[in-house]
């Protein structure tokens, strides 16, 4: 059976990291979110994966190439990107009587795939996996009649939330779905959930309850919580690769993961909840905790970095301080109160020594930070932060 993974979305709330890579390529536990998903497909009846990709497809294609384990991988370009339903339509000619469709930005388990495949085989009806979460009103809330979805509402008001179950974004479909997608169009876009909402008016949509891992990354701090949730599980390798160099006087805790060719200098401490990408240098005496560091990053000596995300190819000078902790963070129009985010630093940032980054700061790509600066709030791409 084939699986279609929808990976063309932009993920604007994860700026600036999504400027240079699509959201499914953001790493948690040192592997892109999409790799966790494709990995979950390897143990199932799926033999071939079609990845629907958008304008940032280079990163996905270069990472996965043409196969993953025994899975064959091919790519379908969605251009322009007009919603998840439109994305699925692009794959139509490659799909047979039954296939799996799933979102490329949520970490899931093998069990959810097996469950929707089994139900599809039993009933030959369209199937949606649903899962129970604490704050369902941020997602598509599902109204159920026993095993059937009878209502679907995106982000309902908390008072009008009809159940704790949400659409998990994993489906089994047949060709019937394409007709349903073609029937709808809102503001020039075709969303898969809109199509399903119309579909259930007169047809049956099977619901499969799922209790396993379901981790969504919507906002930057979700990267840190999802990273922590996966570190120390079988999805994360805590063995240090042979090509990495760790000085005997450095501390690298077990619930961390270190990439290829990375070097940890003397007296550095890599504490719980840390993922370090490939070809990274952690300077002498630096302390890192609850932090994600992408590839090709250089962190100089005596730096403190807590609750932080550092983009690729960024260099931070000696004595940089990201003290970590809680802050109110504004993303587009919404202010998120009291979230854990020491800082989000973009790709290719060049920081001097003694820079202090206050909690909740988001620094755009290619920014430069002069030595001794005190950085807070939102810093645009390519800005130059000077000492005032």
């Amino acid at each position: 059976m084939k699986a279609v993974v929808l990976a063309a979305g932009k993920g604007r709330r994860l700026w600036p990291l999504t400027e240079n890579r699509p959201k499914p390529m953001l790493p948690v536990a040192n592997r892109p979110i999409l790799e966790h998903i494709i990995d979950a497909l390897t143990q199932t009846a799926i033999t071939e994966v079609l990845v629907v990709v958008g304008s940032d497809r280079d990163r996905i294609q270069s990472h996965f190439e043409d196969s993953y384990g025994d899975l064959e991988i091919s790519y379908i370009v969605q251009e322009p990107q007009l919603g998840t339903g439109h994305a699925l339509l692009q794959a139509e000619s490659h799909l047979g009587d039954s296939f799996i469709a799933l979102n490329g930005d949520r970490v899931i388990d093998t069990a959810i795939i097996d469950a929707v495949i089994d139900r599809r085989k039993e009933t030959n009806e369209p199937v949606m996996a649903i899962t129970r979460i604490e704050q369902p009103n941020q997602y598509g809330v599902v109204e159920l009649d026993r095993q059937t979805v009878v209502g679907l509402e995106e982000q309902p008001h908390p008072d009008r939330t009809k159940s704790d179950y949400i659409n998990a974004g994993v489906y089994a479909f047949g060709p019937e779905i394409f007709a349903a997608i073609r029937r709808i169009e809102t503001h020039g876009e075709q969303a898969l959930t809109d199509a399903l909402d119309t579909f259930i008016d007169d047809q049956r949509l099977e619901a499969v309850r799922y209790r396993g891992t379901w981790l969504d990354v919507s906002e930057p701090w979700d990267l840190l919580t999802v990273n922590t949730a996966l570190l120390g599980t079988e999805r994360s390798s805590n063995a240090t690769p042979e090509s990495a160099t760790i000085d005997p006087s450095a501390v690298v805790r077990e619930s961390t993961t270190v990439g290829e060719n990375t070097v940890v200098h003397p007296q550095a401490a890599v504490l719980d909840g840390v993922s370090i990408g490939d070809n990274v240098s952690i300077g002498a005496g630096t302390t890192v905790k609850n932090t994600i560091i992408l590839s090709d990053v250089t962190i100089k000596s005596e730096t403190v970095m807590i609750d932080c995300i550092v983009g690729a190819n960024t260099t931070l000078g000696p004595n940089t301080t990201v003290e970590g902790g809680h802050a109110d963070v504004a993303l587009s129009d919404t202010v998120h109160h009291d979230v854990t985010l020491g800082g989000l630093i973009g790709d290719n940032v060049a920081g001097g020594g003694n820079v202090t980054i206050t909690p909740g700061t988001i620094i755009g790509n290619n920014a430069t930070l002069d030595s001794g600066t005190y950085v807070s709030g939102r810093i645009d791409d390519r800005s130059h932060v000077q000492r005032g």
Partner: protein
């Protein structure tokens, strides 16, 4: 220069041989053919690409051989396409290499044999026919035939009514692949890598008889054992991964290739490098000269290495186009290290130069991408660039990996010779570490480079200028453009412009200036002014925008220390790609060119 493949096994022989040819197409693609052999022989040929060849079917075929050709003797016609047959139409032969004495053999045979083609290869099936007429086996007939041949060859022969395939190797590459129920042959492993990664490399002089259940290898008439190696490639590495062209895929693989090139080789804590070469300290300290031998892109990597080695390893370096190389000038072979750079490890010109160096008694070191290739067996020692398979004819990732690996070699030799300051060491190691990220940053700017390429695509000619390490990058970037876009493109040392080439510069010829660190940008700026006053548009590549005030189009790259010109090369790879793509050129298969050139 060609690719050969073959198959013995239970599956659809025609289809598998056809796929093998498809995989080998980068070695040659101007004509192709397949012979299926059982009790009878079925032959299919085309004067075009493999796609134009229909996979043949034959009910009684037990074995198949195929060939994709890059013409040396005779035009790319159907008649000249391999496999070639004898007068009876029962013997089929595919061949890669050159039979040097074919003219004499052909004259001799012409009395009793009728020749169809203009190729050197056709003498082989006719010779086999003559020997088979004595009632001996196909193996015996091929053994006798090879005794009559001079030159380089990898051949595979089948004959109707004879069991299996007989292959013979003299210089030209040939290997056998083993899967659980089938046997494959190929000019390289790409031919069958989707079926198996277990291979046996044949050595020069080997003749092997492959049948359904047995493989016997002979050398000088005696049975010999050849080991079986497991390649760490897999089939995925030879696909296009959703990219329109292998070249674009390989350009985007460069950050990963560079991380692999340095992986485990940099010891940051001790600021030293580890290379898996065995060069004794006393020897390294006694070297008076390093001679680099290479062709094409590898030659440009050699020029870059010269700059690094002379400055930092304190040793005289000469770079030689391999086909022009001679060991002369009263050099002391004991104090000369010869470094052969070849991506494929099979480049005939480079191998021939290497043999010249070996004959003279010099120590030899190979720098290659290909495990098990001929150069690795012939040179005293090998350093691998670890770039992974490169299929696009225009080399991209292997150039940057070659430069990165020669940088490691420079640090190693400089440290052993005591000529490299600790500050320079740190600078080099930082630069190497920063290179993958810097290259990724350039790749993220691809849309900007694409727009500029579209603007300039219709120009009459393109001139690339640079100084110091920017000079080899200018040469290499110009080679990329001419290879795939067919535009007139030349690289010049910036200072040479005024000594002649300036006469070519007009408002229709953009000049691309390498204005990076390590490239004496402040001097090249004067040359930029020279061409601007002739009305030529100027494209500058720089990290420091202070030097680009007079430039029409700027490609800004991240600062990357001693290896910054390599980052500029990546920009210009993309520029060449987008110019060629704008013109609709067959980027992975440029006319008249082939990937690894195994003829001299």
């Amino acid at each position: 220069m060609c690719g050969i493949t073959g198959y013995i096994g239970p599956d659809d022989t025609g289809r598998i041989v056809h796929q093998g040819l498809k995989n080998l197409e980068y070695r040659g693609y101007d004509s192709a053919g397949i012979a299926l052999t059982g009790e009878t022989l079925t032959l299919t040929k085309t004067a075009g690409e493999v796609d134009e060849l229909t996979a043949p079917q034959s009910a009684d075929a037990t074995v198949g051989i195929g060939h994709t050709r890059w013409s040396t003797h005779g035009e790319p016609t159907e008649t000249n396409a391999h496999p070639h047959t004898d007068c009876t139409g029962e013997v089929a032969v595919v061949h890669n290499g050159i039979i040097e004495n074919y003219d004499a053999l052909k004259r001799e045979l012409s009395e009793q044999h009728i020749f169809q083609s203009e190729t050197d290869t056709e003498v082989i099936p006719h010779l086999i026919e003559t020997h088979l007429a004595d009632g001996i086996s196909l193996l015996g007939a091929v053994q006798r035939t090879t005794e009559q041949l001079d030159g380089s060859y990898a051949i595979a022969a089948t004959a109707a009514g004879h069991d299996g395939i007989v292959v013979a190797r003299e210089d030209s590459p040939l290997l056998i692949g083993h899967s659980d129920d089938a046997t494959f042959i190929g000019s390289d492993a790409t031919a069958f890598i989707e079926h198996t990664n277990r291979v046996t490399y044949l050595e020069s002089g080997d003749i092997a008889h492959l049948t359904t259940d047995d493989i016997t290898i002979y050398n000088g008439g005696e049975p010999v054992e050849r080991s079986t190696d497991t390649l760490d490639w897999d089939a995925e590495a030879a696909g296009k991964s959703g990219y329109e062209h292998y070249m674009l895929k390989e350009i985007h693989e460069q950050p990963r290739a560079l991380r692999q090139a340095i992986s485990g080789r940099i010891n940051d804590l001790a600021t030293s490098v580890t290379l898996e070469v065995d060069l004794p300290t006393e020897y390294v300290q006694s070297i008076e000269e390093i001679q680099i031998i290479a062709c094409g892109t590898s030659y440009h990597a050699g020029l870059y290495a010269k700059d690094l080695l002379e400055t930092h390893a304190g040793v005289k370096v000469t770079v030689h186009i391999a086909s022009e190389y001679e060991f002369n000038g009263d050099r002391d072979p004991w104090r000369t290290l010869v470094l052969a750079i070849t991506q494929s490890g099979e480049t005939a010109d480079t191998l021939s130069a290497l043999r010249e160096a070996t004959r003279a008694g010099a120590r030899t070191l190979a720098l290659t991408n290909t495990l098990g290739s001929t150069v690795t067996r012939e040179a005293d020692d090998t350093v691998f660039i670890r770039a992974g398979p490169e299929i696009g004819v225009a080399a991209t990732k292997t150039f940057v990996s070659q430069v990165a690996t020669t940088t490691l070699l420079t640090v190693h030799l400089g440290q052993v010779r005591g000529t490299l300051s600790s500050r320079a060491t740190t600078e080099f190691l930082e630069s190497l570490r920063n290179l993958p990220g810097a290259v990724q940053q350039v790749l993220d700017q691809a849309p900007t480079i694409k727009r500029a390429a579209e603007t300039y695509a219709d120009s009459e000619a393109f001139f690339y200028i640079g100084r110091k390490a920017g000079y080899p990058v200018a040469l290499e970037s110009a080679l990329k453009l001419k290879e795939i876009s067919y535009d007139h493109a030349e690289g010049f040392a910036a200072g040479e412009l005024k000594h002649g080439p300036l006469a070519l510069v007009t408002p229709e010829t953009p000049v691309i200036a390498i204005l990076t660190d390590q490239a004496a940008a402040e001097k090249t700026v004067n040359n930029v002014n020279e061409v601007e006053s002739r009305g030529a548009p100027v494209i500058g590549v720089a990290s420091d925008l202070a030097v680009t005030s007079d430039v029409d189009t700027v490609f800004e790259i991240p600062a990357c220390g001693p290896l910054e010109p390599v980052v500029a090369n990546v920009v210009l790879q993309l520029f060449a790609y987008y110019v060629a793509n704008e013109k609709g050129r067959p980027i992975d298969k440029p006319r008249n060119l082939a990937k690894s050139v195994t003829v001299e």
